[in-house]
Amino acid sequence: MAGTAVRGRLTWQTATVGPVTDETPTVRTLRLEVPDWPGHRAGQHVDIRLTADDGYQAERAYSIASAPGEPLTITVERLDDGEVSPYLTEEAQPGDQLEVRGPIGGYFVWEAESGGPLLLAAGGSGVVPLRAIVRHRSQVGSSVPVKLLYSSRSFQDVIYSSELDFPPDGVEVIQTLTRSQPPSWHGYARRVDRQMLAEVAWPTADRPLAYVCGPTSFVESVAAGLVGLGYPAERVKTERFGATGQ
């Protein structure tokens, strides 16, 4: 555990916004060019700092969307009452500058030796660090079987939809749309509940490892559901988004 600690002092580094991709009407992926990025692990996050021309600064943390070895990439959901996320999703353009500090966090991290099978459960933009895990698994040639249970409000809110349509071998994507579904929808159409988890989750006899990320209500209910199915609490790693703020 101590071996995963961040060594030395983390310093702010200037990043230049690279290519941006609109994932949904409110979610954007931004590549950040950082000359001295020290590298990161799948599941970690990064602090972002913006500076206005009057010197005012605002900082927030975002999950890293890219696998280790890939350029630093974040995927940001716009929060209407936010200060940083509206800038990143609507204003920032390639060539703009901001600052990054990281990587941060060492618990909500998957590496090949962490094993599996993996149950990845995402609510909304909680899919971001789990996408980094799936990409990392492919990158290192791991054959750990993965189920990604992903809950979105509606079809247009699905992040990374083109990637999820063609998952790598050994990765099964199970989606649920909680608020509205297109006419041809064959996935689940309700919030993740105990019955859905029982249908989707690996049996406990397989010694699965679960990563759950999303809004607090989603994480509370999924984590409790998995513990109810017999998952040991220490095999259920969670990352919760607060109700406000990014």
């Binding site: 555990m1 101590a2 995963t4 600690a5 961040v6 060594r7 030395g8 002092r9 983390l10 702010w12 200037t14 700092r49 913006l50 500076t51 206005a52 021309d53 009057d54 005012y56 600064q57 605002a58 900082e59 927030r60 943390a61 200060e83 509206p86 800038y87 204003e91 920032a92 353009q93 703009d96 500058q97 901001l98 600052e99 941060i104 966090g105 060492g106 618990y107 909500f108 607090t216 509370e220 984590a223 409790a224 998995l226 513990v227 609490a233 220490e234 259920v236 790693k237 969670t238 919760r240 988004f241 607060g242 109700a243 406000t244 703020g245």
Partner: protein
């Protein structure tokens, strides 16, 4: 010198600098951040213990609730950058709990249901600076916020205020707890922005 992020402007009201530490913003919500599932411990199986002193000391829930309590209002500051002002709590002061133990240790490791730990100097637990809190805004503390009882050390970043706290291990050395082992600051003073190791 930080580079200017073209087109970025302040959208929030300026936070009062004497209330809100650097890098923080004020929220009215009470976000939940925990590394695992929320534990639920029945009160008849709950205890609070202090080990590492001359004799171990333990309180059942009823014994704990029979101790004198304090009601207090404090600002709290999470390392993820939200601050919440004027939160009100009821709890038992660590001055009361530690007075029941003979010890010379300078450090404490708080431990919780679910395996969470965090380290603090004993000096930061004494002198009216720390409580084991069981009520929040006049109601029993919800499980997602650390109920039945959590540590409350509002002058440090809130990860030091261990949820679901079950006791303290007193020790001679300052050994890192859960988040401190993952690169967060060993002490965590929000006014000095001690977020990560080396800050």
């Amino acid at each position: 010198m930080s580079p200017v992020s073209r087109g970025f402007r302040r959208k929030r009201e300026a936070a009062p600098a004497d209330r809100v530490p650097p890098g923080q913003y004020v929220t009215r919500d009470f976000p939940v951040l925990s590394a695992g599932p929320t534990p639920h411990t029945a009160l008849d199986r709950w205890s609070f213990s202090i080990t590492g002193g001359r004799e171990p000391k333990s309180w059942t829930w009823d014994e704990f609730r029979a101790l004198p309590t304090e009601t207090l209002t404090r600002d709290i500051h999470c390392v993820t950058r939200w601050s919440k002002l004027d939160t009100s709590w009821q709890g038992v002061s660590l001055d009361v709990l530690l007075a029941a133990v003979e010890y010379e240790s300078r450090y404490a490791l708080a431990f919780s249901d679910g395996g969470y730990t965090t380290n603090l100097p004993v000096a930061d637990l004494l002198g009216g600076k720390a409580w084991v809190a069981f009520n929040f805004e006049g109601s029993p503390l919800g499980a997602e916020h650390g109920g039945p009882a959590r540590l409350l050390v509002p002058h440090l970043y809130f990860w030091k205020s261990a949820k679901w706290v079950r006791g303290l291990r007193l020790r001679d050395t300052d050994e890192p707890g859960f988040w401190e082992n993952y690169g967060y600051h060993i002490y965590g003073d929000p006014w000095r922005e001690q977020r990560y190791a080396g800050d």
